[in-house]
Amino acid sequence: MEKVPSFFDTPSPPRYSGVLSWLITTDHKRIGLMYLWVILFWFVVAMFLGGVMRLELMFRGETLMGPSSYNALFTLHGVIMIFLFIIPGIPAIFGNFFLPIQIGTDDVFFPRLNLFSWYLYVAGGGLALATLFIGGPPDTGWTFYVPFSVGTHSNVSTAVFAAFVLGMASMMTGINFVTTIHRMRHEKMGWFQMPLFTWSLYATSWVQILATPVVSITLLLIIAERFLGVGLFDPAKGGDPILYQHLFWMYSHPAVYIMILPGMGVISEILPVFARKPIFGYKAIVFSSLAIAIAGSLVWAHHMYTSGMSDTAVFVFSLLTFIVAIPSAIKVFSWVATLYKGSVLMTPPLFFALCFIYLFSVGGLTGLVLGAAGTDIHVHDTHFVVAHFHFTMFGGTGFAFFAALHHWWPKMFGRMYHFKRAYWAAVFITFGFLLHYVPMFVIGLQGMPRRYYDYVAEFETGNFVAGFGAAFMLVGLVLMLGNLMVSLRQGAVAASDPWGGTTLEWTIPSPPPLHNFIKEPEVLDYPYDFTQVLKTRRDDVEVS
């Protein structure tokens, strides 16, 4: 392929260089990478917060910290992981970098708004960090439930405002993506020629646009309650505390799909590439993404079965919850069917993707235990719930994020990483993950409540074992990130299409040039046509 300067060598706007050329850039790829570094920073911070919590829980009694510190720690762990890592992770990094390329264009529709979103994201993160030092860190959990969030003396207002600012960033990214897909898609690319990752971002963006304003306003209402005492959620003043939960989960449950849909998009990209086979049920996956986005927005009150809402609502929301399982299952079956009789080429991204399918399936199936009101009442607010959502969010989105990192790293940086280390890291993370969260299912079923720094003797073994799982996971994560970082200096130079992919990002140099395409992109009639790949390179990975 023709040698052209990459976007690293061509700042946009062109008159700036050095750090400034990044801080004022409007290039979607540079903005994607700026998100990458900040998001990885927050991930590492929250990972260590989680590690410290797990260390406290390994032994009974007060070992490292008391109850108030533990409360602050799990709140920060949750706020950072949810608002600063999982929600923006895949769309802001890989969406920004690859969405315009996958649809054959040179940038997003609103490049300046894109940069502004990044600044809002950084400001939101800064505010979240500030709560540590101003007025005492919040101790409400990431849900900020009233009446506690209104009455507590910790610095809830700043944390809530941080979430508000982060919501703005998320919304703007959503608006940018929807507009870009509608207005800037290559003229030869119809809706059903779009890659599935782009489709998943499209569905996600609509949820971001529709649901985020609800929580933004709700969070501001908490501040109004705290400072003005308006009584919206205070029963003593005629308010309704359950109304807060409705408003909060109206966003925060769809947010679960904001987190997982892009991850599903990543998996739908990776599997056909390494199975050397068209994805099974392309249209079924597209429509299931849209169905998840729609149905997932109508099930929020399944978080509230024990809150005191009406029995009718419990029945209706339980029923709706089970409907969401259908499109999710369609995806899982399609992925497995894609592998069937494929010419499978094992690589680190595929390894992570396979782990995703298993872990996400366990997360989804244990979700049914919680979606059914009868069983939920028994395990509500126990470690069973903690294990379930870590299986979906970490085992799901987290592993999809790692898969995406390994899949697109050579394209983003033009360097290959060390495969063996990547496999070892994946094995450590997966083994540690299972050892960490499976005991939580058990002690949760036995009745151990979440969000307590101490517990009774019968939960001792489970918590002790889970601590070793966390250690394995930490080792794996450090190894994985270290391996990727080392590759930037020592990795072999990556080819333009190291894996044998068929979507447009694999037709341009690694790393891409400033305007992405050096010649008119050739849009395939079907984005996952591997006829050519099978003829020339059935089972190889190409380095330059």
Partner: protein, 90 residues
């Protein structure tokens, strides 16, 4: 450039005012929990009229029109679904 005639815009304004009157009138009729759905249906219709005519979404392609009308429909569903709880509390 006028892409909608003044006559049409005036007609929409009259429709919006009339629908406001209908909202007020409907609030005096006791329909139980359905009062909420009636109010939401009227409000959604009004918002759709504003989007299509005053904000010129109507001149866009069918997909864009459907997308924006979908957002209004969705908002009304979100508000309406909270009444599965509020309207049935014991």
């Amino acid at each position: 450039m006028h892409i909608a005639s003044y006559g049409r815009l005036l007609g929409i304004l009259v429709a919006l005012v009339a629908l406001t009157g209908v909202t007020v009138a409907a609030s005096y009729v006791d329909l139980g929990a359905f009062n909420v759905w009636v109010a939401l249906a009227i409000a959604s219709t009004k918002a759709s009229l504003v989007l299509i005519f005053f904000m010129h979404i109507g001149v866009e392609g069918r997909l864009v029109v459907l997308s924006f009308l979908g957002t209004i429909f969705f908002l009304s569903i979100m508000i309406g679904f909270t009444f599965w709880d509020v309207a049935f509390r014991g």
